[in-house]
Structure formats: C-alpha cells, structure tokens
Symmetry: C2
Subunit: 340 residues, 2 copies
Amino acid sequence: MSIDRRRTASVKDVATAAGVSLGTVSNVLNRPDRVSAVTRARVEKAMADLGFVRNESARSLRVGQSDTLAYVMLDAGNPFFTDVAHGIERAADAEDLSLFLCNSANAAEREAKHLEHLQQRRIQGILITPVDPESTLLNDVARRTPLVIVDRTRKAEDFCTVAVDDHHGGRIAVEHLLDHGHTKVAFVGGPLSIGQVTDRYEGARRAWQEADLPPDDLVLITAESLTVAEGRTAGEQLAGIPQRRRPTAAFCANDLLALGLLQQTITSGRRVPDDLAIVGYDDIEFAAAAAVPLTSVRQPRQELGTTAAELVIDESANPTHTHQQVTFTPTLVARASTAR
Amino acid sequence: MSIDRRRTASVKDVATAAGVSLGTVSNVLNRPDRVSAVTRARVEKAMADLGFVRNESARSLRVGQSDTLAYVMLDAGNPFFTDVAHGIERAADAEDLSLFLCNSANAAEREAKHLEHLQQRRIQGILITPVDPESTLLNDVARRTPLVIVDRTRKAEDFCTVAVDDHHGGRIAVEHLLDHGHTKVAFVGGPLSIGQVTDRYEGARRAWQEADLPPDDLVLITAESLTVAEGRTAGEQLAGIPQRRRPTAAFCANDLLALGLLQQTITSGRRVPDDLAIVGYDDIEFAAAAAVPLTSVRQPRQELGTTAAELVIDESANPTHTHQQVTFTPTLVARASTAR
DNA sequence: TTGTAAGCGTTATCAC
DNA sequence: GTGATAACGCTTACAA
C-alpha cells in the first residue's frame, strides 16, 4: 500500500480556503497582533483543516538565515560530548533555536562535509569540536557563519573558544596522587599530537617537578588512542615493568583509558587501589559506575556547551561582539580507585 | 573586533563575474557535462574567487525537498542509540544524503518540536525511536514525510519498523542462566510500561515455564528506569532477600542496570559470578569494559540503523513501496559475569 | 552549448 | 486591518 503524499498546503492555499489574502495569512504567522481575532480564527481553522506546515526553506530563503544551531561533535559515541550537547541544547531552547547534531567521528572529511552542508543551509551558528583546531578550514567557515570552538583552544585568538584548563587538570590529578603518598606514577595517554593530552601531561610534570621527585619516576605510557582497548594494553605494559620500578598509581588522559586499565588490572588479579591507584579524566557517568568507582577529573560539560552556545548566539546577533576565550577550571572527584 | 560578514555570493554574482548567464552557472552545479570545459573552468574559478556557497534553502524550495535524513534519538547519551545512528550514517553516506541527529531526551514535547521542525524543512525522511510508539502524532507526520520507527514496534502495521526480537532476547538470556545451573533468578527491569521491557520479561518467563521451574523462583525486581542508579538499588533489594530464597543470578533489562547491579554487588563484598551471575542487555561497549566483563544480549545495532535508513529511502523514492516490519534476532555474548 | 524566464513559498513593503 | 506585489536564490523547461 503506497501512501498518498500530496504536496502540502501553502500560505496561498490557506488564504484561498480562509477567503483572505496571502499577506494576511503570513501576518497571522508572524505578527498575529496585526490581525483581527475573527479573521485570525478563520485562518487558523483553515490551516488546521489543510494540515498546513510552514515551509522553512522558503522562510529562510526570504529572511536570509535559519533559526538553527548545529554542533559538530568529534565523537557522538563518547558520553562526554553528548553531555556537552545537552548543555548546548539548553541554551538553544532558551532562545527558541533548533539544534542539529552532526558527528564527524574524528574524520576530517566527514567534518568538512558537515560544515559544507551547514553553510549551505545558512544556519545561524556552528559549534564544533574540531578534528584539528588549527585547521584553516575553520577560518573559511567562520567568514560566513558564526563559529565557536568547543573543548579545544587555538593558538591565535581569532575565534571564540570554550575550553577547560587541561594543564590544571593534569596538575590536580598528580597532586592528588602525591597526597596519597605515591612516588612512582604512570601517565597513560596519547597520541601526544592531541593538544589536550600534552597539556594534561605537562600539568602532571609540573606538579611532579614541584614535588622535587626524580623526573623518571613519572613514567610516560603512550597510547595510540583514547580508548578502552588501549587502556588494557597500557595495563599489560605496566605489569611488564619490574616490580621495584613499577608505578603504584596511574593517571590516565581520559576515563576510557582508565576503565580499560582498571579492567585489565582487576582481571589479572591485582587490586585497585591497593596494587594500583587510578585517576581518570572526564568523569563520565561510567566512571562512577565502575566496579571500583573511579577517581576522575571532572570538567563542567554542560556549562561548556551552554557557554559556547551563548557565545555563538552573541556572535550572530550582536554587532559589537568580540571573540572570547573562556576557560573553565576542572575539579577532582575522589572515589575508591585512589582511596587509601 | 567584529567581523565583516557580507552577504554571500549568489549564482547571479558568479554568472556576472564569469561573464556567463545564470543558467550556465546552475548547469555547472547540476549537470556539469552539459557545459564546455572552458566555460566550466571559468565559472569554477569565479565561484572560488567569490567564495560561493550554494544556498540550500533556495535549492530545496525549488525542488520541493531536501537531501537530508534525520534521526530523532530517544537518548543521545545512551551508547546504544549512537551506535544505531552510526548505522544510519553509513546508509545515508552511501546515498549521499546528509544526516541530522536530534535528541528527544525521552521528552514527548521535545520530540514533537523536533518533528515539527523537520517537517518544516521538507526533509526526505525521518527515522525515530519514539517516546511512545503508539502516538498518533507519528501518523500525522508520516502523512507528509516518510518515517520509519527504529527499535520499537507498533500494534498496527501502518509503518515500516525495524526492531529486535525482545521476547527471544529474554528467552536466550534465561536459557543461558539455566544452562549454568541457576534455579533462582531475578529479572531486573522497568518500568513495565515500556514494551521492550515486558517483552524481555515475557521471554524470560516463557523459558522459565518450559524448564518446569516454580514460577515464584523467577523473581521480578522492578526498576523505576533503565539506569545505573536503579541497578544499584536493585542490588540492595537483592541483598535484602533471605539467603535461602535469594536468586543466584540476575537478568537485567539493559546494560546500565546490569552495570549498576555489578557495582553494588562487588562493592558490598559479594563476588560475580560466584555469588551472583549477571546478564545484561544491549552489549554496549562498557559491558565488555566492566571489571567483570558482562555477559549480555547483543542487538545488531548498526544493522538496525542501516536497515531503517534503507527503508526510509525506499519509502521516499519508490512509488510501489510497501511497509515492512523487520525483526532482527539478538544473540548472547557470554563473558565472565556468568562464567562457572 | 548557452541564455531566458517562470516559479517554488515565504516575508515585508506599501497602498488602500 | 487587509490586500497586492516584489524579492529571496535556485532549478529547469524551452528557446536561441
């Protein structure tokens, strides 16, 4: 059975049905106050009867832009980014903008395609956690569409950016471990080409230096990617280190790594935190849900999104807008994985 | 410093710059073969110089629809749905359609808003995991826009639906536990108003009946929602049951519950699977990543999405389209949480 | 191969 | 308070 999908009614059809002019119909849509209650009722009835649905393409063609925000996510499967998206959604709702989510899945060409489509739609603003924050593609896009970078920073201050102080995050993670008496610690993370990973590592090293500990006792274990599987691999590497030189704690560049490391540690018969204390990063929901609840560095995810959305709205609406670099400060959430 | 965001160039501007007519510019966009190599080059140069970006609103106004699919997700934070979205993305890519993700966050009014916006955009097809699959709102939408229901079924066969056989899933979960010698089992899930939860429960009960076990030894523990927190609560309830009547295994209606239950069990000093075997449902990535890797019922998530996308594309393009109800069969992935 | 012109559905300006 | 009408940028017959 195939469906009868006839062309949907236009303002013109509604006007005819209601016995008014097309301009009046448009008025009830956009300035209902300008039309008398009785004709308004008549028009509204006609709309309902005909199942009128306003054509957004025509509207946005006419007005030159569309009341829509989009967030190009780096990885829709990572709960961190869906939380950010939630925050954006809140701000978008408040301004009655719709929000589209796009997933670049960490692929530059997917990202480029999405950006192209979004520009073609003349949407009001783009939020993006880019594959490469230094890419000049972003400059091209921003020339036409307000764009703010989320959870990444840029060397030049030519964009609004909203990020979290990763250096500080690395520092507080290590300070927490120092407070618990650890003097041999592993930093698990990579690839180091990711700015955030290096920032967290730098923060960790700085804290280490300030504690006057031998640099070599902060062991770098590089991961290929920030995934659970790599966390397991890191666990094996850690286990391969001779007992006397083996770290008693690990600071992982994100929670997925930490979860993988936790699993590998426990299933190979070692205990957390007794044999190995673990600190993660991001504080995703599953961090608290782990068998040994994970100490983690929490980033204000929703606020990140909300602030970014507010900035992009400002950039699109306010002629005197100036770019801002907003930095949030992460906090440490201590749980069982580092308890003593 | 505010940005100079002048109106972007139109086909007309490009035509003037290239010294050709507007129709020719459109031809290089849509039927490049019809235009000679030399003028094409000239036009393309003009486009590049002017930074031309095609106006999708104008295009889709003219052609009557937009080459876009949308997936209205029930919960963007649940990895299950992002995997489904991945599958949809694959199919959309293959047809060169763009995909927008919308998140209803389980709120009917958010869902309605998204559906309204999508219809206004005259997009080609909608995929949705609805808050309420029986809602008549879906009928209204489907009258204008091809729509397929994902991961839910409907009593009437008036839609294409793609779902997984939850009854079978419940059955194999319990059969697995029976095979491992359990004769007192808890079913953890709820609210029972969710069709899938009841189907899984029904499947479980059927398997139980067929094993000729006393009905009361399949204990129902109802949860308020399918969340980690509720899983922990279930664990406490379970622990409160007198030893001799206490189930030795639990089948949870999803992995979040199972993860919560696993955590509560382990942190309260009982062991998995020795004291309590656990089976989850969905096989999200974090199931395998748990400290005790979780046995779970796996649904073919990506295939779910891909098939749904193919159906909606068929519905939008094929005049002889007929609605289909596709059902996938889940499989059990055995891991340590039920090992003996 | 290229140009001309109509029309998609809406908004907004201007008369009435 | 209401009605004609032009314009937004594009695609697509059709004419040259």
